[in-house]
Subunit: 397 residues, 2 copies
């Protein structure tokens, strides 16, 4: 069900022939009239044509649906790419008898290759005919590229349902662009308030994950609110507002964890918590520096604690910390105290073995305290394995 | 010969027993009285004890020699580490009948493990006895950790000889810290002028290389000028100054290339040239973003051009560029023109095959033009291979 779990949404996903594999590659998610939408997009300057189109339509109008194609990313495609994105949304609008300005677009796939427009246009009637309140699952399948499993979540808060789906194996799929996530709710939320929720609780959940530090040209997260639950509009600051924001954050967090769990080549998840930083922004940079370090990631793959590598990542993150006040624990095992690796770590097997056991869990938890400041943040990552190199190195066009 | 090729230097390298492998692990390089020294150190805030000691002695006094141990990095070792570094230099000074303030120190090896001081002190008499004008080669061997070959260079400019050696397999050796380089000349140069040369032509050469983006706690480059060639002091701006700076830059560049050639797991070198940036600083960030991208590095390992990955790295480097004005060539093959991958790249095999052939050279040259600005920079990198993961992942303490 996922995105069609809340009332007020229909969706579909079909095989239109954009992917050589013959798997579903065209999806459509439509909210009832009055649905509000908020979006968060890649910061990559070489943003793909559909990203630029969607940004513009969100800024200028009131879109309520999104067409997604997988197979081609429509990035680095120049003016032809812009025309293709416009044509795809125009065809959608035509088939649904609505205005093109109501349609957003996302694409994911090979960078540079033009979208297979003939197949996309040929598939449109079938896609529109398949739209329905049970279409969330097919939609979730149609947006996948090298994902090994679909990623769907549902949850519920007081008076509103929340659903979501996502695709992406991190920023790491071969030439395939990247992370798309769609979250829906049947609460009624004004567009500008929905945007506040997107920025406050959705974007940070997805920004906290890192697979290989590569920010795609196509990353997009869209948050839809249909209002179809029939309750009053949720006003900022109210009890229902807090509950809704918490529910949406929970959905975002579950999708983020699902993305990391399916990260290509990943065999262990890395959960990095930083505490005591001067600010939350500092804590975020530190957490991502540890989660993104090639040396920490290979240590996680090898199941070796290597506390020196965590110190190294913290010291070169760009954030000013006092190395003499850094404490690090792997699971519940202290491996750095006041900036120093305890000599017992090298002298006897007990401490090193305990840390090693924590480092071999499916989810490796590293806690870094850098001082007494109020800033804290968590980052999710994964290890760097042979399979990452195989998937991204042996792939050839 | 390397560092003892210029007149006015003696050096030695011996096995003192700091490394379990039994390979040489203690080295000493001594310049005649009057030798000037300039240093460039890691920017990692968790700088090792010997780095902090050497920085201080260079700022406060006039050191003319350096003791180097391999096996332990003396990083994350707290006050004990500071005491060990001081004791090691005090022992050196005692053996040579000089002041401790004349002795700098470098360490490389496991982070966190205390330096094996007993072995170091035991080895000191042998080390000092071995000092000689032919000791440059032994010195170069004693500083190695997981290097597979020693890295020594010599060159000559009008009136002065230049020698150098380095160690480091990038920033990537398992727990082993990192890049050390020593360059000597028998020209006479005032200490403050030598520092200008170090910052202007030596630091940029080493800062341009990247293996995995991890900045070690121990990186150190020292530049020594003995004046023993017997010529007048080289004055800034003179013809001899320009020639000397060029010669030192050449030695630094040769050492940097030798480091990349020996990067662990590296099977191809990456030479990234960026042109047309708004400033040299922008060009440097862009070049390192491409050379350091996990997706570009795996593409280099796989021999696949993947121009979309280069665009992705440029777009997310943090430098403001107009994606529509980016041209990219691999070797002499244009793969991006005005931000667009030419459709012919996907339609026929010719263009893709030509790019692929360039991508399979031992040295892969990628030229990125981002506009019409004056900024240009080059970065050296290497691919990301199974061996990188093996070396850094399968290693266990």
């Amino acid at each position: 069900m996922s995105v069609t779990y809340p009332a007020g949404f229909v969706a579909a996903g079909v095989t239109a022939g954009l992917k050589p594999s013959g798997r579903p590659d065209l999806g459509l998610l439509v909210g009832d009239r009055g649905t509000t939408v908020a979006g968060v997009f890649t910061t990559n300057l070489a943003a793909a044509a559909p990203v630029r189109l969607s940004r513009r339509r969100l800024a200028e109008g009131a879109p309520r649906m999104v067409l997604v194609n997988s197979g081609q990313a429509n990035a680095a495609t120049g003016e032809r790419g812009d025309e293709d994105a416009r044509a795809a949304t125009a065809a959608t609008a035509l088939a649904l008898g609505t205005a093109p300005e109501e349609v957003l677009q996302c694409s994911t796939g090979v960078i540079g290759e033009p979208v297979h427009m003939l197949q996309l246009l040929d598939g449109m009637p079938t896609l529109v005919a398949a739209l329905g309140p049970a279409g969330g699952g097919d939609f979730a399948l149609s947006i996948m590229t090298t994902d090994t499993v679909d990623k769907q979540v549902t949850t519920e808060v007081d008076g509103a349902r929340i659903g979501g789906c996502a695709k992406g194996v991190g920023m790491i799929a071969p030439d395939l662009a990247t992370m798309l996530a769609f979250i829906t709710t049947d609460a009624a939320v004004a567009a500008e308030d929905l945007r506040r929720i997107a920025l406050a609780v959705v974007a940070p959940r997805f920004n906290a994950i890192t697979v290989d530090g590569c920010t795609s040209t196509n990353d997009t997260v869209l948050l839809f609110a249909s209002g179809a639950a029939g309750r009053q509009r949720v006003e900022p600051g109210s009890r229902r507002w807090v509950a809704l924001a918490d529910g949406i954050e929970e959905a975002a967090e579950m999708l983020a964890q699902a993305l990391i769990a399916d990260a290509e080549g990943g065999t262990h998840a890395l959960l990095i918590d930083v505490e005591g930083a001067a600010s939350e922004a500092d804590a975020r940079v530190l957490a991502k520096a540890v989660a993104g370090s090639a040396l920490v990631k290979t240590a996680a793959f090898g199941g070796d604690p290597n506390p020196g590598r965590i110190i190294q990542a913290i010291g070169s993150s760009g954030v000013i910390v006092d190395p003499g006040r850094v404490d690090i624990a792997i699971g519940d095992v202290p491996v750095v105290i006041g900036g120093v690796i305890p000599p017992t770590y090298f002298e006897g097997p007990e401490l090193a073995d305990a840390a090693k056991a924590r480092m071999r869990q499916p989810q490796i938890e590293i806690l870094v305290r850098v001082g007494e400041g109020p800033g804290r943040s968590r980052s999710l990552g994964c290890d760097l394995s042979y399979d990452y190199v195989r998937i991204n190195g042996e792939y050839t066009t």
